[in-house]
Amino acid sequence: MAEHTGAGDPPLIYLNNAATSWPKPADVLAEVTWCLKTPFFEQGRSTAGGTTDYPSATRESLAGFFNADRPDHFIFTQSATDSLNLLIHGFVKNQKTPFHAITTELEHNSVLRPLHTLEGEGRLTLSTLPFDDGRITLQEIKKAIRSDTRLVIMTHGSNVLGSLQNIRPVSEYCASNDIFLIVDGAQTVGQIPINLSEIPDCAFVFTGHKGLFGLPGIGGFYLQDPEAIAPIRQGGTGTDSRALAHPKDMPQKFEAGTPNYPGIASLLAGIRYIERQGQDAITSKCRGLTALIIRELNKDPNITLYTPAPDLPVVSFNIRGLDNDEAGYILAKAYNIITRTGLHCAPLVHDRIDGGKGCIRMSCSYLNTPEECRQAVDAVREVADSADR
C-alpha cells in the first residue's frame, strides 16, 4: 500500500472557479514567468532598471479597470480576507467603541469571523440582516440603523447564491449618514463590469485569484477616504526610511514589507486579459454557461437547486439521498469533475437554504466550454438517478 501524496489525475472539467479560477490564461503564466526571471524593481526598493515596476503599473491598470480616479488608493494585500481584516480592524481602531455595525447573512467567514471576534471583545454590537430571495435591500438596512451605527459591511455578490447586491443606493445612503461602507467584491470582480466612481465613499475589497485570473496570494482594496481607516501594520515601505513613524501617504499607509511581485504581475496580466476579451463578453459567456447548467439540472427531480436564476456564475444544489461531500467525491473521482462542497465558508446562508448541511457548488469561468458544462450536468444527473434507486 502506498500513500497517495499527489492530487490525483489532472482534472478534466474544473468547475470550482468561485473558489479559485483555473486554468489561468497563458498570458498570466507568461507574465509571472517573466516577473520571476527579471530582477524585481520598485521605486525605492531596487536599483534594477529596465524592468517593470509591477506595483505601480498594476495600480494604474486597476484604476482604469474599475474607473477609479486614484491609482495610489489601491492597496495590495494577500487576499480578500486579508483586506477585510485590515479594513474592519483598522476601522474599529479609529472609533470610539463600542459602536453598532451591520452585516448580512450572505457574508463569508472573512467578514463574519472578524466581526464576531470584535463583538466578543465588546468593541462593537452587531446586527446580521436576513436576506430575501438572495438579496439585502436598502430598506432592511435602514430598519437596522441605530444612532450609534458606524459601519455597514456587505458582500457585492453571494458566493453560494450568486445573487448580486445593489450596492449603489446603499453606498449613497451610508455616505449621507456618516456610516462607513465596506463592500466585499471577491465574487464580482472580473465577472461583471464594476464602476467604482458610482459607489461613493466606501472601501471596495477584491481578490486576484478568482475572476481576475491572478495567482492565489494576491488581493487588495480600494479606499476612497484613507482617513476612515487606521493602519494596523507598520514596517518598511522603501520610502522616508529615516522616519520611525510609518508614512501616512498612500499607498504606503497600508502597505508594509516587500510586496508579492509575482502575484501583482499575475493581477496585471489578468486584468489585461479581461480587457482584451472584453468584460461584457466574459459576463455574457459565463451567464450562458450557467444558464445551461441550471436548465439541465432543473429537469431532474432528484436535484434540489438553490440558485434558479443567479446573477453570477454560481450553481448550488444537492442530490437527493447523497451527502454533498460524497457527491463531490464521486464527481471528482469517477468523472474528473471538480466542484466545491460543504459550507463554502458562508455558514449563515446554508442555515437558511439547506439546514446548515451544505451543498455542491459548480462555478464556471470564461475558459470553460459548453461541452464541459453539458458533460458535468450529465454526470450529476447520472449520479442523482443512480443514487436514488
Binding site: 500500500m1 502506498a2 500513500e3 497517495h4 501524496t5 490525483g8 447523497l322 460524497e326 467525491y329 464521486i330 473521482k333 469517477a334 468523472y335 447520472e382 449520479v383 443512480s386 443514487a387 434507486r389
Partner: protein
C-alpha cells in the same frame, strides 16, 4: 485526509467486515460502485468497490490513537472471526484512551 493506493482492489467482503465497526453506505448502481464508511470519532473512508484508491480521514484530536487504524482494518479483515474480535478489542482500547482524554460531562 490521506489518499491511499492499495495493493489490491477493495472488495464487498471488506465492506461486510467494516459493518461490524460502523456505518457502511454502498451505492452499487453508480457508474462506479461508491461506498463510504464512518466509525464515529475513529475514521471515515470513501472509495469505490473494485478500485485501489481510497480516501481516509481521521479526527485530528485522536490522530495519534487512530492513525494506524485503517492499516489494522486491512490486515485483520483477512482473519475472519478472529480478525473481527481483534479489531473490537483494539477499538475498545482506543475508546478507553479517548475517554481519558475527553471524559464525558459529569465523569
Amino acid at each position: 485526509m490521506k489518499e491511499f493506493v492499495l495493493d489490491e482492489p477493495l472488495t464487498e467482503e471488506f465492506l461486510t467486515f467494516l459493518k461490524s465497526f460502523g456505518t457502511v453506505k454502498l451505492y452499487p448502481h453508480l457508474k462506479r460502485p461508491y461506498f463510504s464508511f464512518e466509525q464515529e470519532h475513529f475514521i471515515s473512508i470513501k472509495g469505490f468497490v473494485g478500485d485501489t484508491n481510497v480516501e481516509v480521514r481521521n479526527r485530528k484530536e485522536f490522530l495519534d490513537l487512530t492513525g494506524d487504524y485503517f492499516h489494522l482494518l486491512l490486515f485483520y479483515h483477512r482473519e475472519g472471526e478472529h480478525g473481527t474480535r481483534k479489531m473490537q478489542e483494539i477499538g475498545e482500547s482506543i475508546r478507553g484512551k479517548m475517554k481519558i482524554r475527553f471524559p464525558a460531562p459529569g465523569n
